[in-house]
Symmetry: C2
Subunit: 404 residues, 2 copies
Amino acid sequence: MLKVNDNYQKLPGSYLFSTIGKKVAAYTQANPDRKVIRLGIGDVTQPIAPAIIAAMHRAVDEMGKAETFHGYAPDLGYEFLRNAIVENDYRARGCEITADEIFVSDGAKCDSGNIQELFALDNRIAVTDPVYPVYVDSNVMAGRTGTYDEGAGVWSDVIYMPCTMENDFVPAFPKETPDVIYLCFPNNPTGTTITRKQLQTWVDYANKNGALIIYDAAYEAYISEEDVAHSIYECEGARTCAIELRSFSKNAGFTGVRLGFTVVPKELVFEGQPLNAMWARRHGTKYNGAPYIVQRAGEAVYSPEGKAQLKEQVATYMKNAHVIYGGLKEAGYTVFGGINAPYIWLKTPDGMTSWEFFDFLLEKANVVGTPGAGFGPSGEGYFRLTAFGSYENTVEALERIKAL
Amino acid sequence: MLKVNDNYQKLPGSYLFSTIGKKVAAYTQANPDRKVIRLGIGDVTQPIAPAIIAAMHRAVDEMGKAETFHGYAPDLGYEFLRNAIVENDYRARGCEITADEIFVSDGAKCDSGNIQELFALDNRIAVTDPVYPVYVDSNVMAGRTGTYDEGAGVWSDVIYMPCTMENDFVPAFPKETPDVIYLCFPNNPTGTTITRKQLQTWVDYANKNGALIIYDAAYEAYISEEDVAHSIYECEGARTCAIELRSFSKNAGFTGVRLGFTVVPKELVFEGQPLNAMWARRHGTKYNGAPYIVQRAGEAVYSPEGKAQLKEQVATYMKNAHVIYGGLKEAGYTVFGGINAPYIWLKTPDGMTSWEFFDFLLEKANVVGTPGAGFGPSGEGYFRLTAFGSYENTVEALERIKAL
């Protein structure tokens, strides 16, 4: 008689963005005449850059001819892509990463959900709070998080590191020592970040305690300040304590193209086991590579034309970020983020809960954002707006908010 | 201090096809003048069909324009693809499956590796022997298989159902009652299959025992006999006991395009938990959808032109299967499969082990196949050749084998 994985029953409600989707669908159905502007989910809106489109057309043509057809991809990804990643994302920044430490995948969401499979079930995980829900939920499904306190919105066996305006969104080392630490900088959802020097203290902390850092750098393309690290490997000692997750979704608009990669340095050895070999084994056993066409698209991201076009694309989103940041300030809100990230994090007004503010904004301004509470208990009283809309919609949304 | 998932250390050696790859690489490096013909790994060689190439070009163009750009896909996959699947793969065969029971993914390997996450760790799994390695290895990684007996090549907590020439490759119901039963028909690696009537007895057995069947139908496009089921849902009662895995890799040559789907009927309820909702939750939390371009490619598989072109593609591979089957017979081998599947399974001659025959064939005929022992203990003494090579190479390989 089949027994199900009962950890699934512990998961409260549905995935955050599904809930938002349903609320918005219900509203638009009831109010078909209203133009709803979505600044909620972190999905991009600009089309794929011309250099990448051209590369995909070429790759599609290759797939249509016997001489240039590509079947199963190499387990870790094509060398042309892994070499481009090493050269541009790491060597150019002085980080020592080699191509056999790069694992190409279909996106950072999958990687951040799957990476916990390498760890024993009795490890304690630590997350910044608020946090991208996948880190916690994937550990819930594995049975690593204990029991859920519905009222407090916390798991008994998860170590939360609050990031709020009180500590400038810089997490403090937790009282209990974690085994796995999830860090995401520039941060989703808060849009804030920490300096290279502050990140170095986390690397030192992890090395001292034998902990592993899962470093999510999905938003590194939006960094504008000099003292912010683009990769954790800019910090000394990170090769012995950190895995880095990267995405092409936000720097190149690949949310519907699907490409990411994970960096697992060979010095990452715990209990005598190299995590690089373990992750390679997982890739070889349970994954079959990103599409050839998509890996060629990824290569084009690093071409001179691709780089120039994407720099412009990122700049366009950051122009939106300035519109949101400035507009909210003008309207009297307390605002964070938006400098090194495409997210703006605001304090909800008048003591509203973040879901109350969600409903308020949807109904009064027809603008969709993301309630901070959906990202963890310390997100309560905050709200996220993203810069991924069109410029026109972003300006209009802010006009509406200012008029409230 | 991070503790690793020590189940990984129980895995013997490396993944089968990595081992073969290394052996072949070593041989070709030592003998650069020899033309090695690969009939080993189940990778296709024919280019993607014109109707599908055209659909991908159109989709690439859409991604390059703001008005037709597609970001994150719906969790379960686009409706246009799920509807085409329902219509062509199920309704046309009289199977009652609805679009919300279809979960589009990046391939059956991922799905067959991931599906076990829905089950408790103390379920007993049963596999036919020999078997596609992913079913067992993914359960090893989860800790569901007990200890490995290197000599016998078996896991203490896995129920093996031998499929050999002695029982016509038809598994018998096991002595111990399993909770999860992995079945793959037409079978990889043996290329044999069972009749619809025989499959019905497995559906009845599963329903009687509260077991779940994971039915891998990746090779259904190669079925040529009337009394073989294309889907397990052709059997009465399958909706309460079976999940079906499907792939576009073999029917449409998508090994490098990456697309598959899983069917999880809503009647699949165990311990009060609907597996459809659990799998939806997993998809929503740990997966972000197959690329838009690839889902459009999948849609084109079901277009009239796509169907006609793929029918021809499958026929070409089956022509190879006949060449291999006939050639081996002629050379005096005992041969199975090749009628409803692109795989030919042969008895190794002169009491050779299957790895001995691998080396023999590589060195004497420069032909790469797959040793049966790599698929499980009952694969010992057998060897797999695939029909996925080019016609010319297949003919040449068989000439060489006949000349041995």
